[in-house]
Amino acid sequence: MTIPVDLMYARSHEWIKIEGDSVSVGISHYAQDQLGEVVYVELPEVGTAFAVGDELGTLESVKAVSEFLAPVAGEVLEVNTRLEDEPNLVNDDPYGNGWLVKLSGSAEGGEFLDAAGYKEFLEQESA
């Protein structure tokens, strides 16, 4: 179960990475493993604004649908259009090519764990 140290994690299993005014969002290795093989990703429209905790989109496996939430408040700057044809990237490369959306804004207002804190959180969850 990989947990890169350069990212921050929400308790709902999204990760974020801040690059200037843009916040990249994806789901963790743990989350994709729980979901199983992703067959479809529903992404928001560019330009839509979200508050912390809003449903950004959905990830579908064969037998389950799960929502992913906005870990920070902001407007959608970009979505990962590669996922339309290659939803498996969410499984194969969750921290890289499997990113989901980029939001404007900063980490303010969200609650995040660092890699060590997230690892501990996962251990508590599965205990």
Binding site: Y40, E60, S61, V62, K63, A64, V65
Partner: protein
């Protein structure tokens, strides 16, 4: 003991003893005594012979469509019934199995659904079709709600042709009332056809869909290309409802003219009239809207060895996964009826279906000619409008009276429009299929002459 209960008294005693119990009553101890009863207020068990006699007598009090010349249609039609259809339907491998959740032991059912989807797709001119819905009326409801979803609920008006089967409209009203969707009804012009301009006026910029039926309730074939254009000009989805699926043997489905949904009733494809059910709703749409489509779907894939196989797919739209957010609450399809339609269509064949439809057309035109020749007091309500196998006949008296009087002459003449309301004349909808022989037409004409 009854033959349909697998364990006899001695079996039960042995099982109870294995479970360490004295009596079966102990297994029901968790049910509070306040809701319990000791037996039911129903008659005792009956043997097969009694059942056959009693229910046989009940059936015999009905007048079957096969017993006299019959011209009833209005959404339920009598067509040829190849014996192979019921032979296949009677195979336990099909009728005693359930939803193919385990694809490894359900390839038969899954491939049948895949073939059904393909047949419906080819006939409607749209690239995807589902595994079936309850019936034509609920298929229309699903189409309207589908349009509402596709347009993300921003438009709350459904525009309906008045010439959609009145019963379908009633069913739609039941559902739209709960969903908070408004319905506007557009009456036909003097020729019984829908005027695209009136569709434009009704839809404006508020409609999520415009639904029309062709051939319509009056049997008249609509101008599909113009109606699709008018609908799309208003930014709405175009829905075609088909209640006489045999018409697709000779007429293009709406998909060929840009309709977004073609749905309706496929009872004509080998499903018994059965006093109204079970029938076979179908639903076809464009693949770009596939994820909003209601109902079950079979898809092609491979097994672990790379061999072609089929399985249910996109079930994440459905209630057992998405629960409150599902595209529909439907949990079954009309599996066995879809099988009947698949066997029927494959037995009749592509060219055969065209000939069957041409036969309906020829017989209908012949009966219209004979009625016109008889003349007053009989007339066709819309003599100039194109029809497939049904038309509205007007005569001396209400439709209900005419049907009753013609029945006394030995003809089941059709369905009266008397109690349906509508802006059309009170008369009789007469349907003619390939099952109506020249002699049936003679009987019809003779009955009219006697009542003239």
């Amino acid at each position: 003991m009854h033959p349909w209960v697998g364990a006899g008294p001695e079996d039960r005693r042995q099982i109870l003893s294995e479970l360490g119990l004295q009596s079966i009553d102990e297994l029901f101890a968790s049910i509070p005594s306040g809701v319990c009863v000791d037996g039911l207020d129903l008659p005792p068990a009956r043997d097969e012979d009694w059942i056959r006699r009693t229910l046989g007598n009940m059936a015999a009090t009905n007048i079957s469509m096969d017993s006299i010349p019959c011209f009833l249609g209005a959404g339920v039609y009598r067509h040829v019934q190849p014996s192979v259809v019921d032979a296949v339907l009677s195979r336990a491998e099909f009728f005693t199995s359930y939803t193919p959740y385990q694809p490894e032991i359900s390839q038969g059912t899954l491939q049948v659904i895949f073939e059904f989807q393909t047949l419906i797709s080819r006939l409607t001119g749209l690239d995807v079709a589902n595994a079936s819905l309850y019936d034509g009326a609920t298929a229309l409801v699903e189409a309207a709600l589908f349009s509402h979803r596709v347009l993300r609920s921003k438009r709350d008006l459904v525009v309906m042709a008045e010439t959609i089967h009145p019963m379908y409209r009633r069913v739609l009203d039941t559902y739209t009332e709960a969903a908070g969707i408004e319905v506007a009804v557009v009456p036909p012009g003097a020729d019984g056809r829908l005027d695209p301009e009136r569709v434009r006026e009704a839809a404006g910029d508020r409609a999520c869909c415009v639904a029309i039926q062709s051939p319509n309730f009056l049997g008249i074939v609509e101008d599909l290309p113009q109606l699709a254009t008018a609908t799309h000009d208003c930014g709405a989805l175009a829905i075609e409802v088909v209640t006489e699926a045999a018409s697709l043997g000779i007429l293009n489905g709406g998909g060929s003219f840009g309709f977004d949904v073609v749905c309706g009733e496929a009872q004509s494809f080998g499903v018994a009239p059965g006093f109204g059910g079970p029938h076979l709703g179908f639903f076809a749409c464009s693949s770009k809207h596939l994820r909003q489509m209601p109902g079950r779907l079979a898809g092609e894939t491979v097994d672990e060895n790379g061999t072609r196989a089929f399985c249910l797919t996109l079930s994440t739209r459905e209630q057992h996964i998405r629960r409150a957010k599902a595209t529909s609450n439907i949990c079954t399809n009309q599996g066995l009826m879809a099988l009947a339609a698949t066997v029927w269509l494959e037995a009749i064949g592509g060219n055969g279906l065209r000939e069957l439809a041409a036969s309906c057309l020829a017989r209908t035109e012949e009966l219209k000619r004979r009625i016109t020749a008889i003349g007053a007091p009989w007339r066709l309500a819309y003599p100039q409008s194109p029809t497939f196998n049904e038309f509205l006949l007007v005569g001396p008296g209400s439709g209900t009276e005419l049907v009753e009087r013609l029945a006394t002459k030995g003809v089941l003449a059709g369905v009266p429009t008397t109690d349906w309301g509508g802006t059309w004349p009170d008369g009789v909808l007469v349907a003619v299929t390939e099952c109506n022989s020249g002699k049936d037409l003679d009987a019809f004409a003779a009955a009219l002459e006697q009542l003239s």
